[in-house]
Symmetry: C2
Subunit: 336 residues, 2 copies
């Protein structure tokens, strides 16, 4: 890594976070100090071609704010929703955006004249926490991000753990409850179906509907699209015991699944992040931690640390830039 | 790997499988052709010091059968039950043998004057299948061996996936059934508690006791220590439908847990092995396969292959020798 930093330290690195609602580009120097940033709405509905142009505009403006030209770019890392063809740098399918088969590496490479690396957005976030945040320096870091679904990622001995062509670590789809509730993937009883923020919001809406969560009812009614992490926190702080119990139960489910992941991968650090964890860090971490402790084998006790993510939104955009540097260096080393 | 084979090809490699009841040493040439083998009872109860001497006797006799001297040894690999200190080459605790803190690397290194690498026995078996058997050349291979417990291992991009100091991939202790039966690890509802050969034997003994498995009752009575894999096969072949159903159910549980593992690691090959699988390969593989298919996300369908192990007992003793070669080469490459 040191020699990489030296050889590649002259240029700057661009990290790009392609989200469902917003896109974010940040220019980093060789030591990953931020030089400038730009954010735009994604507007996926306008199609991939317009989307690519918006991405390039965002990059251009970030470069301009950083007072750098594209000639100064050593590489670009783009964090995208999956599935991806990591080798070819193609976004295969982003249902939230309605984009398919977007050749990001080719298009951005042509425009900026530098290597382009793409990564799954969750993986990029976990890599960011591994390099700069809660998992710094650990041999194995597992990251879990409960949101609409439950994203997971793993950095193992400095590399993002990946499937054959794409990302893996689908923690949300670990089978957890035999014959449990239907999951978005079509199966039943996946972790995600009982422990995602969406599952929590649904259960909380039902509690509000039957009069068990008056604060929530007043703040957001029974529309689950309004019951986001901040509202859940306000409801719990306002005294809605039913909502607190729903969050605790979800966190316990996640802890049980996590015990299985720890038994498989033996991580030193498990990073929990995302809006729900940020809104309720103590309650959530405590409940997950208890559930893990109750489920973990004696030999694994004390071998890992649960921690909340440290970098917030920067994890992804910084992580993907650093991952681009690492990937490009390892390709150079492999002579490909 | 090629250059390794060339530089280290002059010597021969010794693989050692330290089992609960028997020990096996095989001498391999640089291309992993067997040159000679020796097998002895382990007799763990005689203590670690006597055990070490027995190990050395076994190695000496294998060398003699292979017509090689210890000076010809390029390295030794020892597959042991865990937990192990992989870095220091120490067997920390082998409850089945009653041995603790045995400095295998130091003792064998002193005697044979060559590098010694230790590995978890299941990991060694999976590595063997990856190098020479059912998982040959795959980017990611997961191995599962249902026996008294359920062992698991993973070779990821040519390397054994490991925990901080020891093995990981404790597939048997994935939480599967909430509030399920008690597991040997002290927790409840682990995969092992419902799907190991031991769990099957217990359930089959109960079936025999209540008159639902007459063939089994006649062959083995109701003593679970007599109900081993061959007896289970004979009982099913003899028409004990209850026993067949018990095995199917266990295989289904294993398939569900495996779906979670596939979602996490994205392997191309999953190898199933051990006595139970060898005794009932078709029934078992079919049932696991159906259960995995029912639980797997659409994006993972068709990305992996389930296969039975190909090497039998050789997987471990050949795998650990090949792993010793790989480890020693990578240490040389890392300059340590």
């Amino acid at each position: 890594m040191t020699s990489t930093t030296v050889t590649m330290g002259k240029g700057c690195w661009l990290g790009f976070d392609l989200g469902g609602t917003k896109m974010l580009a940040t220019v980093w120097d060789g030591k990953f100090k931020s030089l400038g940033s730009e954010r735009k709405k994604t507007k996926g509905f306008k199609g991939a071609q317009t989307g690519l142009e918006r991405m390039m505009d965002t990059i251009d403006e970030a470069l301009s704010k950083a007072d750098r030209s594209k000639e100064g770019l050593a590489g670009i890392g783009v964090a995208c929703p999956g599935p991806l063809d990591l080798e070819k740098g193609i976004l295969i399918d982003a249902p939230n955006l309605g984009w398919r088969n977007v050749p990001l590496r080719k298009e951005l490479g042509k425009r900026y004249g530098c290597p382009v690396v793409i990564a799954n957005d969750v993986d990029a976030g976990v890599y960011g926490e591994y390099r700069f945040g809660a998992g710094r320096g650990a041999r194995c870091v597992v990251g879990v991000f409960p949101g609409t679904g439950i994203g997971g990622g793993c950095v193992y001995e400095g590399r993002i753990l990946r499937g054959r062509k794409s990302s893996c670590m689908e923690i949300g789809h670990i089978p957890l409850i035999p014959d449990g509730p239907l999951c978005g993937c079509g199966r039943r009883g996946c972790l995600e179906a009982v422990a995602s923020r969406l599952a929590i919001s649904s259960a909380a809406a039902a509690a509000a509907y039957r009069g068990a969560a008056p604060v929530l009812l007043e703040k957001a009614g029974t529309d689950i699209s309004r019951i986001r992490s901040g509202v859940l926190r306000a409801s719990i702080e306002g005294g809605d015991r039913a909502v607190e119990e729903i969050v605790r139960l979800a966190a316990q489910h996640l802890g049980v699944a996590l015990a299985g992941v720890i038994h498989l991968l033996g991580p030193e650090v498990v990073v929990l992040g995302g809006g729900l964890v940020e809104a309720l860090p103590e309650l959530y971490l405590k409940e997950v931690s208890h559930a893990v402790d109750r489920r973990i084998m004696a030999g694994f006790a004390g071998t890992f640390k649960l921690a909340t993510a440290k970098l917030g939104d920067d994890a992804t955009v910084k992580g993907v830039a650093a991952w681009a540097m690492e990937e490009i260096a390892s390709r150079v080393a492999a002579g490909s």
